[in-house]
Amino acid sequence: MRILAIETSCDETAAAILEIKNSYFNLRSNIISSQVKIHAKYGGIVPEVAARKQIEMIMPVINKAVICLPGKNLKEKIKNINYIAVTQGPGLITSLTVGVETAKTLAFTLNKPLFLVNHLEGHIYSALLNKNQNYGKLIKIKFPVLALIVSGGHTMLVLIKKNNNKIIGETLDDAVGEAFDKAAKILNLGYPGGPIIAKLAAKGNSKKFNLPRPMLKSHDFNFSFSGLKTALLYLVRDLKRQKKLSTQTIQDICASFEQACVDVLIAKTLSAIEKFKPSTFILGGGVAANQLLRQTLAQKIRTEFPKIKILMPEMKFTGDNAAMIALAGYYMIGSQIKFGMTKKNNYKKIKAEPNLKLSA
């Protein structure tokens, strides 16, 4: 079967074609708007509004995604899909609406079933696409699964059983990706903060500055990154006043900050594993691209809980993408594991849900 997936939950416009046959997958295309160059029709003036960008990008991105399909022209090619999957939420309402309305229209005119996927569920499934190639055998998941989702908008631990899932802990204030962005802002390093901080941290000493590890002793699985941000703010303010903010110092601050974030994420994950004893651990979301997090997490789980299978997404599937939405859609067709909504064919009632919850 072939699934066309559309993902527009935030700034990226993405579409993918995923083919699945006898539990082998073949990702035929995986297009993200930043890869598609579009010449602005309005003399180069493109309003900096996410939703408007989405509207401009959505058709070119879908067109580029379906080019791989058999058929003489786009009209014939797009008829060769079997299902459509789209991100319904959570995310930015105006951006989500562009994807959902486009998917609805396509599903209606092509007469194909439409699946509404939870964006977070997509991030969980992204770990199953852990092949460097775009094809391979799909990994069979052993339940229960503990998933750590870390991105610019979310930081949560989810316990997934065969028929249900539960958020066992989440951030009480900032998401960890947001903390990286804001730390980069405090240090005047630019956006997005994650990759910049990680790069500078690699040259720094993580033990140089003693930043707090918030919520480490809270005896639950919730996170908080706001206090860490504030501690960083005061540290930078004081160093600036003393004119001690050299390049080396900035690198040391980045390393100390990254280490503090990673320490908290890992401590909470390990105590959740200890309590819930999952068979599989999955990492997902944009911050899953952080090497320190990936390596330390894998190493700690392997030493302390050697029986657990660890799944982490390939780097190219860590950020928002449509391949993961296609795969999540596939599991909605094939199995009883249902995270999101499965209302088929009832087009009038389908709409974007910016605050869509992962669990009931």
């Binding site: 509004v49 105006t94 204030d173 504030t230 703010l233």
Partner: protein, 152 residues
């Protein structure tokens, strides 16, 4: 940033921890009749989200109120008699007002059952009505201390 109300109506608080910041929010919220708009202004880490969490607790919001930076706007149902909905908005990522207008900000601002709280409100000052209560946050001398100025 220009405040529209003369300084003689200004109240100033110094808080010494996040709990005190939450209590300032609760004290202010006692007078609310619904339809209020709060414009929060202040640097990263100056206590804005904390203040909103204090409002949420006072209004009886059951959900976790965390940062809306990523999605711009999060509406929460409350258990308050008059303010039925707490609308938490964050303009940190915004480059212009249009996006918030697309999200239906104007309807929330006019709604008498809503309490609309806007972080980084100075970015959209020109579309906020005259009655907006401006609250300014400043970092204090030490890491826990905050200065909060309320104009209403």
């Amino acid at each position: 940033m220009v405040f529209r109300v003369s300084p003689r109506f200004m109240k100033k608080y110094i808080t010494h921890n996040s709990e005190e910041t939450k209590q300032v929010a609760a004290t202010l919220a006692k007078k609310f009749q619904g339809g209020e708009i709060l414009g929060l202004v202040g640097d990263l880490g100056s206590g804005k989200t904390n203040f909103v969490q204090g409002l949420a607790r006072y209004l009886g919001v059951a959900n976790k109120v965390n940062s809306p930076t990523f999605v711009l706007m999060k509406p929460y149902p409350t258990h308050h008699k008059k303010c039925k909905l707490l609308v938490h908005i964050d303009c940190y990522r915004l480059n212009n007002c249009q996006e918030l207008l697309n999200l239906g900000l104007e309807e929330y601002l006019k709604d008498k059952r809503c309490l609309t709280v806007i972080e980084w409100a100075d970015k959209i000052e020109k579309i906020l009505p005259e009655k907006t209560i401006w609250i300014r946050f400043r970092l204090g001398k030490n890491i826990e201390e905050r200065e909060i100025k309320i104009n209403n």
